[in-house]
């Protein structure tokens, strides 16, 4: 399978308002195979949007390279742009124009014929429940609807690559779910999707490959399973206890968990330990309070993310 995106030692620096140099990207490398959903995660200021802007040909790298379907985004921007539909972080919709005009003009600006654009507008307006708003100007609509229009624009096109920069921000849960289902369908049909998000559950659910960046550097990358392996000494333990007078919180705190939630006779904790020592610690606990049920799982993406960011800090 060939790669839709290849990013090689990408660096981007610029001068801040005070004149001090800012290193937004510091040698980021990754590849996204065709038909994959790739998630770029990181806290604010990590370099996600800078990466998206470079891939989207909005800005140029200071050094390194990035290509989309073999076209260098800095040297062949027009060819690269023909391969992608990009949703940037800022909600971009023409406020003075109607929803219909927004969708049509977007299609025209991507070279679509009037006839094809009209047909596609009908499909997209139904799918994104914009039918009754088609003649409203965008300035009359809520932020969530504006965001929906922006996502709908992307599906006006059949470009092989879709880039979404925190696209679900401000979207209602139903629409978010519909969009995620649609993205999965698009990926199955061979389209490649790169998304950035701070909602880690979205990435966990959607992405086949995930890269975590912070301060312009790659912290970790791989499939969710691979990331879990990296955090192999981190476990999520759910416990149900039998009746006892013992103080559960105090007892479990003695295991030094990274995170602990106790609710009645149930507890959930994240703990760093060797697998064998974890089991022996749980056996010690069961001698004081009977454990009726327990479940040990790998960490969630959020926990891996928090750990990596903490380590970097």
């Amino acid at each position: 399978m060939s790669n839709a995106i290849v990013v090689d030692h990408l660096r981007k620096s610029y001068a801040s308002k005070s004149g001090a140099p800012v290193q937004a990207l510091d040698g980021v490398c990754f590849e996204v195979p065709e038909g994959h959903i790739f998630g770029l995660l990181g806290p604010n200021g990590a370099g996600k949007s800078t990466t998206v802007k470079i891939l989207g040909t909005v800005s140029t790298p200071t050094s390194g390279s990035a290509s989309v379907f073999g076209f260098d985004v800095a040297k062949q921007p027009l060819q690269a742009r023909r391969k992608m539909a990009v949703v940037l972080q800022q909600t971009a919709a023409e406020n003075m124009l109607t929803v219909q005009d927004n969708l049509l003009i977007y299609a025209y600006l991507h070279g679509m014929s009037r006839r094809d654009a009209q047909v596609r507008v009908k499909q997209v307006s139904e799918e994104f429940e914009l039918g009754d708003k088609m003649t409203s100007t965008v300035q009359e609509l809520s932020l969530g609807t504006k965001r929906r229009i922006q996502i709908a624009k992307t599906f006006m096109l059949d470009t092989p690559l879709i880039i979404l920069d925190e696209a679900t921000t401000g979207m209602d849960p139903m629409m978010k779910r519909r969009m995620m289902d649609r993205l999965r369908t698009e990926a199955r049909s061979g389209r490649t999707i790169l998304l950035t998000t701070q909602v880690l559950s979205e990435a966990e659910e959607l992405c086949e490959t995930i890269m975590i960046v912070d301060k312009g550097r790659t912290m970790a990358s791989g499939t969710l399973q691979e990331l879990r392996k990296r955090s192999s000494q981190m476990f999520r333990v759910a416990l149900s206890f039998g009746d006892s007078d013992a103080d559960l919180s105090r007892l479990l705190q003695s295991l030094n968990p990274a995170k602990l939630d106790v609710s009645g006779r149930n507890a959930e904790m994240v703990i760093h330990a060797e697998e064998s020592s974890l089991l022996s610690k749980l056996a010690d606990v069961s001698r004081t309070v009977p454990i009726l049920q327990f479940e040990v799982r790998g960490p969630t993406l959020e926990e891996i993310f928090m750990q990596l960011v903490k380590e970097a800090a």
Partner: protein
């Protein structure tokens, strides 16, 4: 639809849905023509002498009002750069498969059509309601002067709109520049009886070059040598503005 056509269509939809801009583009210059034309013509006794010939003040004013249309349309069009920045479209536009040249061609194309429509409206109103003289056979020359000038004004305003971050600064500075340069020009009165320093400043003003060349096209008046210099200066001005606009657009990218 190719990129330039799509940009043209986008500008058309933006303009047609904003009635305020339509009023400023067309109705304000027509109001100037009707009010100043009929008012000043009566006040000045009906005629002014130019190149040894007598003309009505309205005859003189028409080319000034066409210059005004050119300037106003270009200024109003360049506001879209601010609305694009505010709405996030300016950045998104850079991800579309269109070149910067196509963006400029689409935008300048829409401006030229709007200015030509506005100029036709001015000429028709002047000829039918105010009985102004028009040398119809020379209208292609007037169209050429108007097209070149539209390019110049659009490029200079666009460059400032791209560079400046605040719309109020842009609006205040362009409006003030228009008011001052309108009076230091031959748009509304002949310069030959005015003080030499005033004439000197006015002849450095592109509004004077456009007004004089338009007047030559409409009435056949003006000194050949001066008009040649003004035509050359107008072309240099437009080329310089184009280079400035393209550089600003390129510099606006990260």
């Amino acid at each position: 639809m190719n990129g330039a056509q799509a940009v043209f269509y986008r500008d058309y939809r933006q303009r047609i849905t904003n009635k305020t801009l339509v009023i400023w583009d067309l109705l304000a210059p027509l109001a100037y023509l009707l009010l100043f034309g009929s008012g000043f013509e009566r006040m000045m006794g009906g005629t002014i002498q130019l190149d040894g010939q007598l003309f009505g003040y309205t005859d003189f004013l028409v080319s000034g009002v066409i210059t005004m249309v050119t300037y106003s349309v270009a200024m109003n069009s360049s506001w879209s750069f601010f609305t694009d920045k505010e709405s996030g479209i300016a950045q998104e536009l850079l991800t579309y498969p269109i070149t910067r040249e196509q963006i400029l061609i689409g935008k300048i194309g829409f401006n030229i059509v709007t200015v030509l429509l506005g100029s036709i409206a001015v000429i028709v109103v002047a000829a039918t309601l105010l009985d102004a003289s028009v040398r119809w056979e020379r209208l292609p020359l007037l169209a050429a002067v108007t097209v070149v000038s539209t390019g110049g004004w659009f490029f200079v305003f666009s460059a400032f709109a791209i560079v400046l971050t605040r719309m109020d600064v842009f609006y205040a500075s362009t409006s003030a520049a228009f008011l001052i340069s309108m009076f230091f020009s031959s748009m509304f009165y002949p310069l030959h009886d005015l003080p030499r320093w005033f004439q000197g400043v006015s002849y450095l003003n592109p509004l004077t070059w456009q007004s004089d060349l338009s007047r030559f096209a409409l009435l056949g008046i003006g000194e050949q040598r001066a008009l040649t210099y003004e035509a050359g200066a107008l072309v240099v001005f437009c080329t310089g503005c184009l280079i400035f606009a393209v550089r600003s657009l390129n510099r606006a990218d990260g």
